[in-house]
Amino acid sequence: MTTLTTISNLIHEVIGEDWDLEEEITLDTTFSEDLELESIEFVSLAEKMQAAFGEDVDFVSWLSEKELDEVIDLKVGDVVEFIDACRK
């Protein structure tokens, strides 16, 4: 499974099954504008990512370094890039 697929699945778990599956999550999908992810959903996504990718991918620390505007502009592609870099 590609990193993008794994992340997409986790996002589906967080925002609920009722996200229209036909609207595919891509590298350009933004968490705020496109997915309208709420802050508490970031909290739960971070926990799921940590569980899925293990200790080598410290997503929580990575996210915790982000300023408000950086989190607002965050794209799914940024997270994929971060995870792939951790696993090299």
């Binding site: 992810l37 709420e38 802050s39 926990e47 408000l68």
Partner: protein, 392 residues
């Protein structure tokens, strides 16, 4: 006899819970008064209530425009908007008027809404004991736990504001060092590590509000009944949601198995035969007739439903609602669905589950009992009297 000044933001949901607390204080011989924007106070306060109505210097239509724009932004852009465009400008605008009201009324205690920072500032400046009124139990320390820089961002804005208003900056200035009165109970909102002895959980404060709204009670069918209210929605979001609700729960047969009462303007229809849709309803009178509630997780509607031991399906939209929705899901009294893309079959399945799986109703009943035990407005009044130094 002591004087109590309630400082409220121009938000109905933040003002209503103060009414019963003030009524309780008045019944004990004290003198309550409110300070807030005149238009809201005039609409919500009981006749004869003493009020210090602010006109403020915000441009005409500020609140309407804010309301309109607030309906469009969610998530973290919504958080940024709430702080930069609503809470901080309100605090700046309200502070001089609140300070004048304090000088004129000479309260013994100030009760400052958690989102009306001006009340907290005025109390500190006057050196008065004060309490925070937390009309929602959602807290930024919960929703921003994994994004601490965003939490810091909010704290920095509050520090700047205090410096601008020539106050010694303190952390979390909206939370009183004396009392934070939360209109919920740990049975619903959970135990939090930051809940120290300042935090008192009194449960919801539901005053019988004047609700001269007619409702056709005789038309209610003798089948399971679901109440659906999503608060104020803009046309686009409202139409999408109610279309999904109509598709998921609609039944045009002569003997439908479900009755749906929804708070929605006619333009969100057409609605199926088993729906009664009204733009306004007497919500508190109507809830005892219902079996379950679909809502957006507004704190007042959620706690009003739970006071009636009704299980919930919560579709949170923004602000504190995702946190409240999570509380509902975690406490087991209901289910949380995504509001963004409502799917008819998910709504139908969720409603079916909360109506027919007994655990949801049982948990709602337990939470309802915790609300009763928490003491409500009377317990809140006890705490406020204690701050005023009244021995009871």
């Amino acid at each position: 006899m002591a004087r109590f000044l309630f400082v409220v933001p121009p938000m109905t949901g933040h003002t209503n819970p103060t009414l019963a607390v003030a009524a309780e204080l008045a019944a004990r011989g004290h003198e309550p008064a409110w300070c807030g924007y005149e238009a809201l106070l005039e609409r919500l306060l009981p006749e004869g209530a003493r009020r210090f109505g602010l006109e403020g210097s915000l441009p005409d239509g500020f609140l309407e425009e804010i309301g309109e724009r607030a309906l469009k932004v969610r998530g973290l852009p919504g958080l940024k908007f709430l702080w930069e465009e609503v809470l901080l400008p309100l605090a700046r605008d309200m502070t001089p008027g609140v300070e004048r009201a304090v000088a004129e009324f000479s309260p013994d205690v100030i009760i400052s809404d958690q989102q009306a920072f001006a009340g907290a500032f005025a109390a500190r400046r006057a050196g008065l004991p004060w309490a925070t009124s937390a009309t929602t139990s959602a807290d930024r320390r919960i929703s921003l736990a994994n994004i601490p820089k965003v939490l810091d961002w909010a704290e920095e804005r509050l520090t700047e504001l205090q410096v601008e208003l020539e106050l010694e900056p303190v952390k979390e200035p909206e939370n009183s060092p004396h009392r934070v009165i939360v209109f919920s109970t740990p049975a619903l909102c959970g135990e939090m590590s930051h809940h120290d002895e300042r935090y008192v959980f009194v449960g919801p404060s539901l005053a019988p509000r004047p609700e001269p709204v007619p409702f056709p009670y005789e038309e209610l069918l003798d089948v399971p009944r679901v109440f659906a209210s999503l608060g104020t929605l803009n046309a686009e979001r409202g139409q999408r949601f109610f279309a999904a609700l109509a598709e998921g729960l609609g039944d045009d047969s002569d003997a439908p198995g479900l009755q749906v009462v929804c708070v929605a303007p006619g333009e969100f229809g057409p609605f199926p035969k088993n729906f009664i849709a009204r733009p306004r309803v007497p919500q508190l009178d109507l809830l005892p007739e219902m079996d379950a509630v679909i809502c957006h997780g507004g704190h007042n509607t959620t706690t009003e439903a739970l006071s009636n031991a009704l299980p919930l399906v919560v579709c949170p939209i923004k602000d504190d609602q995702p946190v409240v929705a999570q509380q509902v899901a975690d406490s087991g009294c209901g289910l949380r669905l995504s509001f963004t893309r409502p799917r008819p079959h998910h709504l139908a399945e969720a409603v079916d589950r909360v109506l027919h799986e007994p655990s949801f109703k049982e948990r709602a009943q337990e939470i309802s009992e915790s609300f009763t035990a928490a003491g409500g407005p009377a317990r809140a009044a006890d705490h406020l009297e204690a701050l005023a130094g009244v021995t009871t």
